[in-house]
């Protein structure tokens, strides 16, 4: 009895020592997390119940910011714009990445070069690419309208048109498909060849094989793309900011939620109001993500290697 309890106590002491060492080595990460993530998070939650200009103390006003948001026309416009761009760019991005991944999965010569080329745009800095795209969309000299002209179509004013500015942003978002393409490519290469062979034996053509073999094996990756796309979509900011000078024009057509938040925080000195917006966006993302999991996770097939 005594020997066992001695061993037990020594094991406890060692376990605690290991734990303390672990804590010591992870402390930089924990401190960073607390200081740069947890603290700003909690602070912004607090500020959302105050009127705060960034200079001088924050004045407690309870739920006033949230109430004002409900009747703020620009807020609803910004939510509409955000959802519009989301609904356009997520499917387009996923389909583009999938098509590219399928192409790259073919054993053709020079594949490594193509892979690199298609991936490069997604690592170009956001601001630089926005400047380049501004030229692409130029109604007079831009590539897009030049191509349309070849087909006899008189291209619209794109970023200068309230009708076409959002479609322009959606088209631009395809630029970043390289990231997802690599992930889908990895997923494609995980599909066991035997299943394709079995399908061929059963007489499946290309489409049947794609629909019944490839897609199920890719479903976790596509689900990931959808969820991360939704989260990123509600935080969409940089291209809209760079291409409109932070004004959300023309005629508020590119005023997205994050941009309106930015204007209130840094132009109108309404930090509290902007914080309330941030938390409403958080709630929206949370609810939508939960809904997505609730409805779709049952249909995901986790059969990959």
């Amino acid at each position: 009895m005594a020997a066992i309890s001695m061993r037990g106590r020594r094991a406890n002491a060692r376990a605690r020592r290991d734990f303390l060492w672990g804590l010591f080595f992870t402390s930089p990460a924990i401190i960073g997390l607390l200081w740069f993530t947890a603290y700003p998070l909690l602070a912004s939650f607090y500020y959302s119940f105050t009127s705060y200009s960034l200079f001088g103390g924050a004045k407690w006003i309870g739920l006033q910011n949230y109430r004002d948001l409900m009747s703020d026309d620009n807020w609803w416009v910004s939510l509409y714009n955000t959802v519009y761009i989301l609904v356009g760019s997520i499917p387009l991005g996923i389909i583009t990445a999938l098509v590219l991944a399928l192409l790259l999965n073919m054993k053709v010569r020079g594949m490594a070069i193509y892979r690199t080329l298609f991936y490069l745009p997604s690592i170009v800095p956001a601001v630089a690419s926005a400047v380049v795209w501004a030229y692409v969309f130029n109604p007079q000299y831009g590539i897009l309208n030049n191509i349309l002209r070849i087909f006899g179509i008189n291209g619209p004013g794109w970023l200068a048109s309230p009708t076409w500015a959002k479609p322009a942003l959606i088209i631009m978002s395809v630029w970043g498909a390289g990231n997802l393409m690599i992930i889908l490519l990895a997923g494609l290469q995980d599909v066991p060849q035997e299943i394709y062979d079995a399908a061929k034996v059963d007489g499946a053509g290309w489409w049947a094989s794609f629909w019944n073999v490839t897609l199920p094996f890719l479903s976790p990756h596509l689900f990931y793309a959808l969820v991360t796309g939704l989260i990123a979509g509600f935080q969409y900011f940089t291209p809209a900011y760079v291409l409109t000078g932070g004004n959300g024009g023309p005629a508020r057509s590119t005023l997205i939620a994050a941009l309106y938040l930015y204007q209130n925080a840094f132009r109108y000195f309404k930090m509290g109001y902007a914080s309330a917006m941030a938390w409403i966006l958080f709630l929206i993302i949370l609810v939508i993500t939960l809904l997505t999991f609730r409805t779709l996770s049952r249909r995901i097939y986790y059969g990959g290697a």
């Binding site: 000078g245 132009r267 109108y268």
Partner: protein, 353 residues
């Protein structure tokens, strides 16, 4: 070492560096470091540095922003510096208001272009004044974007846009990232500010450019050039600056001494606001810049300095955009701008004054 947060990029940024070097040449105590901190209606880098206690010694602001920034405690109060005594008798006049280091003069319009978009807001101010309108009623303490002549000006802008098929039909591209679209030779008339005009003259010496006073519209306005207005930039000392005294010396030098104003004109290139600056005579006789002198001396308007200037400006920009794109009538748009701005002003005054 003083640190100056500058909103300017490109040629003007280089100009400010040269200006700092000139200041360093005339005295040996203080060096100036120019740090790029872009912003026009918002300047997150500058504001965050002030709020976070790491303010630079000097920074740019427009006179439009001054009342709100003053009320928020962003700036160091200069009253006691002013009382310390200016170095020349003439400076007394200038120092009785706020310090305006820089003003832009321009033949057809005097305004500020901090980067390359003039914007719907500035357009409304320009033409609103050219029609004889006003944007602020000091007696009622109300913003007046719905002033009859301002609305008439907006109606004219909307008609003009419609006559070319809509604003999105316009496609005049600047020849490069630095030049104003006027330099493309595809715009017949344009109110240009000094740096844009100078860049075009330098880049395209063969381009024939005439000049005249800003067109006006009776009966509201009384003569050509009636709509000309001042924009420009000033310098302020952020709260929490480490070297306020040295910063003040620089402000005085660059804004109200003959050598300083001349150095600024030669390096950065905005006409100085100090009426007695000798360099103004040079400007008057300069073959390229001469037209600006007349407007500098006679322009009467400036955007109203109210506590919610940035918000008013934003509202005007938004609502002018709505009207020009046919989403609202001019009158409805301006009424919305007024309502929203007054509401915001009441909120701001209640919470900050």
């Amino acid at each position: 070492m003083l640190e100056l947060y500058s909103v300017f990029a490109g040629n003007e940024h280089q100009g400010w560096i040269k200006l700092a070097e000139r200041y360093e040449q005339v005295q040996s105590d203080v060096g100036i470091k120019i740090t790029y901190s872009p912003g026009h209606q918002d300047n997150p880098k500058l504001l965050t540095s002030i709020a976070g206690g790491a303010a630079p010694d000097l920074a740019h602001l427009t006179p439009f922003s001054t009342p709100q920034w003053a009320l928020l405690g962003v700036m160091t109060d200069l009253t006691e510096y002013v009382k310390k005594g200016p170095q020349t008798i003439d400076e007394v006049d200038e120092y009785s208001k706020k310090i305006n280091t820089i003003r832009n003069g321009k033949v057809v319009r005097i305004g500020m272009i901090p980067w390359d978009v003039y914007g719907p807001e500035n357009s409304l101010f320009t033409w609103g004044w050219a029609f004889g309108g006003e944007f602020w009623d000091p007696d009622k303490q109300e913003v007046t974007p719905d002033n009859d002549y301002v609305v008439k000006a907006l109606e004219w802008m909307v008609r003009y846009a419609k006559s070319v098929g809509g604003p999105d039909k316009l496609s005049v591209t600047p020849p490069n990232l630095q030049l104003h679209p006027f330099g493309s030779g595809n715009i017949g008339m344009y109110p240009l500010v000094v740096p844009n005009y100078r860049d075009i003259r330098n880049a395209k010496p063969d381009m024939k450019i005439g000049h005249g006073l800003l067109p006006y519209e009776p009966p509201g306005a009384k003569q050509p050039g009636a709509g000309a207005w001042f924009g420009g930039w000033g310098l302020f000392i952020p709260k929490g600056a480490k070297n306020p005294d040295a910063a003040w010396e620089f402000i005085k030098w660059v804004s109200a001494t003959p050598e300083g104003t001349k150095a600024q004109w030669e390096t950065v290139g905005f006409p100085p606001a100090w009426k007695k600056a000798p360099v103004l005579e040079e400007i008057k006789n300069d073959p390229i810049m001469g037209p600006y002198y007349n407007v500098l001396i006679s322009a009467k308007h400036s955007r109203p300095a109210i506590p919610v200037g940035a918000y008013y400006f934003g509202q005007i920009g938004e609502q002018v955009g709505e009207a020009i794109n046919g989403k609202k009538t001019p009158l409805a748009a301006m009424r919305t701008a007024k309502e929203n701005t007054m509401k915001e002003m009441q909120r701001f005054m209640k919470q900050n004054a």
